[in-house]
């Protein structure tokens, strides 16, 4: 099995990432890179470090050692303006994390106004377009509590893409959703992928991974054990831990 074709320039390039929580190492020298327009899935048992790896990629988690370049920016350098860097890195959380005291549109507008410095009318227009793109044109003036989980997660995606990020990170975006609401979120993610967005997804949505991912990374015990095209990882995993994990997931 040949390695995936190497892209000219990885847009995310993390080297030798170490992260400890107290004495427990959760990332043990992980290398991780993503090419432009690539969709990479990270899978693995809970505690494998996959979410921690994802959260290091916009420095919500501070690695203890290693280096991360995103879109040419040296993320861990003390000279880096992390707020400026984060505008290029959208993130979607398992728990949506919408601002409950703001409407859907205000949720999307906040960073447009305060980070990008857009005027009120302009920000409102961009927010409306982003919400329409995730299929929520009719729900713009609703508060998060008035929306279903799936709709909330789509607002969260709109909040991220409105800033026109270069990459999008998804941290178990459908894990908190009732099964019938998962499809709507996956459809939005599929549309994003077709538009050429670079995406890193931590998720157990195997069917989606099979259909949409360019590459699947399997992590266990803070290490990257195996990676490759979905057909290889799901169809003919080389590592015993990977095989065991896939078997278990498929049973559900």
């Amino acid at each position: 099995m040949s390695a995936p074709p190497t892209a000219p320039r990885p847009i995310i390039d993390a080297r030798g990432l170490w992260k400890r929580f107290g004495a427990t190492p959760v990332l043990k020298g992980v290398d991780f890179s993503v090419a432009e327009r690539e969709l990479v899935f990270i899978i693995g048992p809970s505690g494998s470090g996959k979410s921690t790896l994802l959260r290091c990629l916009n420095r919500l988690e501070e690695p203890d050692d290693g280096s991360i370049h995103v879109d040419g920016i040296e993320l861990l350098s003390p000279r880096t303006d992390i707020n400026a860097a984060r505008r290029r890195i959208g993130m979607v959380f398992q728990g949506f994390n919408l601002y409950p005291h703001m409407t859907a549109r205000q949720n999307v507008m906040l960073a447009l106004r305060k980070v990008l410095g857009r005027g009120k009318a302009e920000a409102a227009g961009i927010a409306a377009a982003a919400l329409a793109r995730v299929g929520l044109a009719e729900r713009m003036e609703h508060y998060p509590a008035q929306l279903s989980g799936g709709q909330q997660q789509r607002v969260a995606i709109a909040r991220a893409i409105a800033l026109e990020p270069r990459v999008m990170l998804f941290d178990e975006p459908t894990s908190a959703l009732d099964p019938e609401l998962v499809g709507g979120v996956l459809n939005v993610m599929r549309e994003l992928r077709e538009s050429g967005m670079t995406m890193v997804v931590v998720s157990h949505e195997m069917a989606f991974a099979r259909a949409a991912a360019d590459r699947v990374v399997f992590m266990a015990d803070g290490q990257k054990l195996e990676e490759g095209p979905p057909a290889q990882i799901f169809g003919a995993p080389r590592h015993e831990r990977t095989r065991a994990f896939i078997r278990q997931i498929d049973r559900h």
């Binding site: 959208g90 728990g95 994390n97 005291h101 980070v115 969260a156 991220a160």
Partner: protein
């Protein structure tokens, strides 16, 4: 009965004392307008330090809060007004009130706001930061509004106590409502001005009490 009315609800005395009572009422309003914002400012500083500062700072903020909650505000005020001059520091009556309330009511507001800040899930700050907002922006636009909303009844209750507590400014000779009522009582040998002061406090604060009940029923 007539004696009771004469001593406590004397129309004549009330008319006579009215101007200075009104003066006192205005002073009480002015004192409240100074002490409530100062207390809130102190509380905000303490609340933020005790939730998002480094460990040593959080510990210091907690110790500070304990200290100024344990010292009676009256003692603090007298010390600032009458004690500090012995060290060559004369802050004056208004200065003593401002500092004293900043320290004392700041500690109480700080406890309330600390609880409020603690009630906002971590994910809110993370989501805000992930969109490029600075820590301060995330606090101002995302975390604080939720924190305040979550403890609003307690904040308003505390404000009620602060307004009532402004009556201790009478010990540093600031002519607020209680001080003026005492003056009038001494001048007229009649308790009516004190009753009038109580009524004035009630009129001022009863709406606040109603607001608190409504907020508490809502939660």
């Amino acid at each position: 009965m007539d004696e009771f009315l004469f001593a406590f609800l004397n129309g004549e005395i009330l008319r006579e004392a009215w101007p200075i009572l009104w003066q006192g009422f205005l002073y009480t309003l002015a004192l409240s307008a100074i002490t409530v914002p100062l207390g809130l400012l102190g509380g905000l500083i303490l609340g933020l330090l005790s939730t998002s500062g480094p460990r040593a700072v959080r510990w210091a903020a907690a110790a500070w809060t304990d200290l100024f909650r344990a010292i009676p505000p009256l003692v603090l005020l007298v010390f600032l007004y009458a004690g500090l001059p012995f060290a060559g520091i004369d802050v004056g009556a208004w200065g003593a009130v401002a500092i004293g309330f900043f320290l004392n009511t700041g500690a109480y507001y700080g406890e309330v706001l600390r609880a409020g800040l603690g009630s906002v899930p971590r994910g809110q700050m993370e989501a805000a930061r992930s969109t490029g907002l600075s820590h301060g922006q995330a606090l101002a636009y995302v975390v604080l509004p939720q924190a305040v909303r979550n403890v609003l009844p307690d904040l308003v209750s505390n404000t009620l106590e602060v307004v009532k507590l402004t009556s201790i400014a009478s010990v540093v000779a600031l002519p607020e409502l209680l001080f003026q009522a005492r003056q009038a009582q001494n001048a007229t040998y009649n308790a009516t001005p004190i009753v009038a002061a109580a009524v004035a406090y009630f009129v001022l604060l009863w709406p606040v009490v109603r607001v608190i009940s409504r907020l508490e029923n809502k939660r």
